[in-house]
C-alpha cells in the first residue's frame, strides 16, 4: 500500500514536470545560433547535402567518436559476462532455413552498404547502415545453428576501422582546421557520391565499426545460448 502510494507520488511528480514543459511550450520561430550556422554555412564549408550527417560526422565528430567507444565498451562488457558454449554439440538447422537466409542476405547487406555510402546525400549514414548490415548477419547466424559466427573476423574489422577512423581525425588536425575536419579531402561536386570531403570515408568507417560491434554482440549472445 505504501509502495503504491510512493509509485503514484513519483509518477505524479514526473507528470507535472512534463505538463509544465508541454503547457509552457511555444513554437520557436527561428533556429538557434549553432543550428543556424550549421544550416547556412554547412553546405559551403563541407559540401554535404544532408546537414544532419555533417553535424554528426564533422561538427560534432568527437561526440560520435565517444559514442562508438561506448558501443565498443558495451560489446566488451557483454563478452565478459557471457560464457562461450559454441564448442558444445548443437542440432542441425533445417536446410530450407539456411538456403533461404543465404538468398535474402545479399539484398539486406547491399541495402545497408547503400545507406552507409549515401549518408551525405540522403537520410542515412554510418550508424543506420551499420545496424542494417548487422541485421543481415543476425539473419545468417540465427538461421545456421552450427556456425560460431567467426568472432575473430569482426574483432579485427572493428579494430582496423577504429584505427582508420581516429587516423582520419588526426589527419584533419594536421592538414585542416581541427580533429575530424572533413575538408582534408577535396569537396567535389555537390550531390555526387564522392563529394563532401572525408564525410563518405568517415561514414564508411563508422558503418564498418558499428556493424562489426553489433555483430560481435550478436555472435557472443548466440554462442552463449544453449540451443
Amino acid at each position: 500500500m505504501v509502495r503504491n502510494l510512493f509509485i503514484i507520488f513519483i509518477l505524479a511528480g514526473v507528470a507535472s514536470m512534463f505538463a509544465a514543459l508541454a503547457l509552457g511550450y511555444s513554437d520557436p520561430v527561428a533556429l538557434g545560433s549553432a543550428a543556424s550556422h550549421y544550416v547556412s554555412k554547412g553546405l559551403a564549408e563541407l559540401n554535404g547535402v544532408n546537414i544532419v550527417t555533417s553535424v554528426v560526422v564533422t561538427y560534432r565528430g568527437l561526440d560520435t567518436l565517444g559514442e562508438v567507444t561506448v558501443l565498443f565498451l558495451t560489446a566488451s562488457i557483454l563478452s565478459f559476462f557471457l560464457k562461450n558454449r559454441s564448442h558444445e554439440t548443437k542440432s542441425e538447422s533445417s536446410e530450407l532455413l539456411t538456403t533461404a537466409s543465404k538468398v535474402i542476405f545479399p539484398f539486406i547487406f547491399m541495402t545497408g552498404l547503400y545507406i552507409v555510402m549515401n549518408g551525405h546525400l540522403t537520410p542515412g549514414g554510418g550508424f543506420q547502415g551499420g545496424a542494417v548490415v548487422a541485421s543481415a548477419l543476425l539473419l545468417l547466424i540465427l538461421a545456421d545453428n552450427k556456425t560460431d559466427g567467426s568472432p575473430t573476423l569482426f574483432t579485427v574489422l572493428e579494430s582496423v576501422s577504429g584505427i582508420f577512423y581516429v587516423g582520419t581525425g588526426v589527419a584533419g588536425l594536421i592538414l585542416a582546421g581541427g580533429f575530424l575536419d572533413a575538408t582534408v579531402l577535396g569537396a567535389g561536386i555537390t550531390g555526387r557520391l564522392l563529394s563532401a570531403g572525408a564525410i563518405p570515408l568517415i561514414s564508411t568507417l563508422i558503418g564498418l565499426k558499428v556493424g562489426s560491434e553489433l555483430s560481435t554482440m550478436l555472435v557472443k549472445l548466440k554462442n552463449a545460448s544453449e540451443v
Binding site: 513519483i10 509518477l11 514526473v14 527561428a30 538557434g32 550549421y38 565498451l73
Partner: protein, 117 residues
Amino acid sequence: MAVTGIITGSLLILIGFYAILSKNNLMKMVIGFSLADTGVHIIIVALGYLKGRTAPILDSAALTANPETLVVDPVPQALVLTAIVIGFGITAIMLVFVWRLYEKYGTLEISRIGEAK
C-alpha cells in the same frame, strides 16, 4: 505539432516509469526502460521542430538559396541519433544481466530473487 510530440513522449516516459517501479518481472522492467528511452527521443526531436519547415537535406536550388528559413533544427536529430545507439547498448547490457540472474536463481521475479539471497 511539437506539443503533440512532447505529450506523446511524456506519456511513453510515464508508462516506462510505471513499468520500472511497479512490475515484479525483470524483463518487463527492461521493456519499461526501453519505452522511457523512446519517449525521450520523441521529445528531443519534437523540440527541434519548427512549424511548416522541411528536413535539413539541402537537395534543391530553392532550399540552398535560403536554408535558414526553410529547414528544421538539425542538432536535436543528430543528438537523438547518438541517443538511440546508447539506448541500444544499455538495453543489451540489461538483457545480459537479466539472463545471468535467471541462470543463477532460475526465476525472473525480483521478489523471489530477493528471497533466494
